[in-house]
């Protein structure tokens, strides 16, 4: 297997690696509104870097600064070690796919894709074959002669993608590139993007509000809120080791349990209300006795049983309130004696008719000491 033999791609862990893009204390204000707040971050060559965050948190602004349509109010942005502030947008080796697509309505699909290539003086056969290649890649061959208003939203989005890819830029900025595609085409295009990235070695910065998409395509994910980076990490670490309640809550489904910490040896005991025994968890952060703590645990890490399991430090009895059947999975909403509702998820390996647990049953939920994350504050 070549997959296994290839060294892990993690330039951010290598101190000798030079970042392609560096944001150094970048702040962007519109009037007295701060859209980007003192942001410092490195993005490396060949990365597929995803920006994730709620609407209005500054993702587009960040992209626009890279493309050259906005200048930072404070701080510097370096591209290959060079300050890009004085470089005009048309001189940057950066292409952007606009959230609104910004296709030229008076030009055909073909001409739209050829637009950037023509500007760098490409013509004749070279131009034809490059445009055709892009059309093939985005499966738009049949629409080459159409004008943008004669094709569907999803097709327009692919034209925008093809147009930004055509010049094979060093850095490609994609602002919600797949929002208008239906699920199947979206997944295909995601793999297409990763494939293109493999082939061309282009660095991608992609904005998305779809966390699943970010998890699928990204080498690293940056979770943003109100102009700040809350956590920048690999998809797995963002999911398994969120650094704040905000990140834990933003990505995927999670149980957040509030309590008070008591350190005991290598474990931390968490008191979380009347009538339930303490949760035992592990953490690298040090807690003082009585510190407020949030314990975040994913539903799939919580198991549900009729009998009390005896090989785990964390087992709690509760009552099934609700069962959501999702085909391959079932989610149980279990109410604890202290009123807290815990979501537990299990794979449906057995047929529905043989399911043992049902509404109002008293069940045991359990998880290991390392299953959840302890977060301060």
């Amino acid at each position: 297997m070549t997959e296994a033999l290839r060294p892990v791609f993690a330039p951010w862990n290598d101190p000798d690696e030079k970042p392609l893009i560096q944001f150094k204390n970048v702040t962007k204000r519109f009037g007295d509104f701060t859209a980007i707040d003192d942001l410092t971050i490195d993005i490396f060559e060949r990365e597929f870097f995803a920006l994730l965050g709620p609407s209005g948190c500054g993702k587009t602004t960040l992209m626009r600064m890279l493309a050259g349509f906005e200048t930072p109010t404070e701080g510097t942005i370096l591209l290959s070690g060079q300050d890009i502030a004085p470089i005009q947008p048309n001189k940057r080796a950066v292409n952007m796919m606009f959230q609104s697509y910004a296709l030229f309505p008076h030009l055909s699909v073909w001409e739209n894709i050829a637009f950037g290539l023509k500007r760098e003086g490409m013509k004749g056969d070279a131009l034809n074959s490059r445009v055709d290649e892009m059309l093939r890649l985005t499966r738009l061959e049949r629409f080459a002669k159409r004008k943008p208003h004669q094709i569907s939203g999803g097709q327009r989005q692919r034209v925008a993608l093809a147009r930004s890819l055509a010049k094979a830029p060093k850095l490609l900025l994609l602002d919600e590139p797949l929002g208008a595609l239906d699920k199947k085409l979206r997944q295909d295009t995601q793999f297409e993007l990763m494939d293109i990235q493999e082939k061309t070695g282009t660095t991608f910065v992609i904005v998305t509000h779809d966390q699943e998409e970010a998890m699928t395509v990204a080498s690293r994910i940056a979770v943003m809120d109100e102009g700040r980076m809350i956590q920048v990490d690999t998809p797995a670490r963002i999911y398994e080791a969120p650094n704040t309640v905000y990140v834990a809550d933003f990505i995927g489904d999670v149980n957040i349990i509030e309590g008070r910490a008591t350190p005991s040896g290598e474990h931390v005991q968490i008191a979380w209300g009347e009538g339930v025994s303490d949760i035992t968890g592990t953490t690298d952060t040090s807690f003082e006795k009585g510190d407020k703590v949030h314990f975040a645990i994913r539903p799939e890490k919580v198991s549900v049983n009729v009998e009390k399991p005896d090989d785990t430090p964390n087992a709690f009895q509760g009552k099934v309130l609700d069962i959501a059947y999702l085909g391959n999975l079932s989610t149980y909403h279990v109410e604890m004696p202290n009123g807290q509702i815990i979501k537990a998820q299990s794979a449906n390996t057995r047929r529905l008719s043989r399911r043992a647990i049902t509404w109002d049953d008293t069940v045991w939920i359990s998880f290991t000491a390392t299953a959840g994350v302890l977060l301060k504050g």
């Binding site: 050259g68 048309n90 950037g116 930004s164």
Partner: protein
């Protein structure tokens, strides 16, 4: 029924305000000049019934049109009008486009004010505004006084009663008709298109020529027709500002009608003017339709 009414109204409009008057003018153009009231013959005498009608038809002929072909005054006047209309349309575009462009670049809160300023001249009489130009362009006029005061010329420039004065008058009068359609085309233009063009390697100027200009073409064409069509038959501006040096078909028509009282010949001039105008009017309609289709 409702649909019929909806279609009938515009057709009735067209019939009452265009086809009927046109039929009357066309009929007069086929008549002969006469010393009577009205000053042409034949008149349709309905009292004589069918016989009267055939006699009436028999008296109509194309003499006036033949006369128009023979005398080169008319064909020169048509050509001169076409030239003046074309040149002034060009200059109106040259001045109007940058104004419309600047208006769309102005900040959001300024735009309604600027738009108002463009429309403002319509609030005073067209005739008065053209008269005002006599005061500006005359030998003792405002312009010459200013130029001489500044020492830019030692003798007054002769502008009034030359074609230049006519061009100035036409460009001034019709400028709003050029600015408004171009402005409305440019205003619809999404700024992100220009950013996309820059992103793909265009300079600002190149982006203007490759994106802004072609996307305002509909507005340019509409504006040009809105200036060209009425200018072709323009009468007031050449009479007031052009003196005897400017030959335009509108003036010829006026003279035939009021000075010579030759209604039939004047009508023939008008019919031909209309035939000339039909071509640009149809082209204009086609442009409007294409515009709507590409937006729809």
């Amino acid at each position: 029924m409702r649909r019929f009414a909806l279609i009938a109204i515009p057709y009735f409009w067209l019939l009452a305000l265009f086809l009927v008057p046109f039929a009357i003018v066309f009929k007069i153009s086929l008549s002969d000049i006469a010393l009577s009231i009205p000053p042409y013959l034949p008149q349709l005498d309905l009292a004589k019934g069918w016989e009267g009608f055939t006699k009436f038809l028999g008296a109509l002929d194309f003499e006036n049109f033949e006369f128009l072909m023979m005398d080169d005054l008319y064909y020169k006047a048509y050509l001169s009008s076409l030239k003046i209309a074309a040149v002034s349309t060009f200059f109106t575009l040259l001045i109007g486009y940058p104004i419309a462009y600047a208006m769309t670049r102005a900040s959001e809160e300024w735009r309604p004010t600027l738009l108002m300023l463009v429309i403002l001249p319509f609030w005073t009489s067209f005739l008065i505004r053209v008269y005002a130009w006599i005061g500006i362009l005359g030998q003792e006029g405002f312009l010459n006084q200013t130029l001489m005061f500044l020492g830019l010329t030692s003798e007054p420039l002769i502008i009034l009663n030359t074609p230049i004065a006519v061009y100035i008058g036409i460009v001034y009068t019709y400028l709003p008709f050029m600015i408004l359609p171009i402005y409305s085309a440019l205003e619809k233009l999404d700024d992100s298109l220009l950013e996309a063009a820059e992103d793909l390697g265009c300079s600002r100027i190149k982006a203007f020529w490759l994106v802004t200009f072609p996307l305002s073409r509909g507005g340019i064409i509409a504006g040009c027709f809105l200036v060209f069509i009425p200018t072709l038959g323009e009468f007031v501006i050449p009479s007031l500002l052009g003196g005897s040096n400017t030959l335009m078909i509108g003036k010829v028509l006026w003279d035939e009608f009021f000075s010579n009282r030759d209604w039939p010949l004047a009508s023939a001039v008008a019919v031909i003017l209309l035939l000339i105008l039909i071509i640009p009017i149809i082209l204009f309609q086609r442009n409007e339709q294409k515009q709507r289709e590409s937006e729809g």
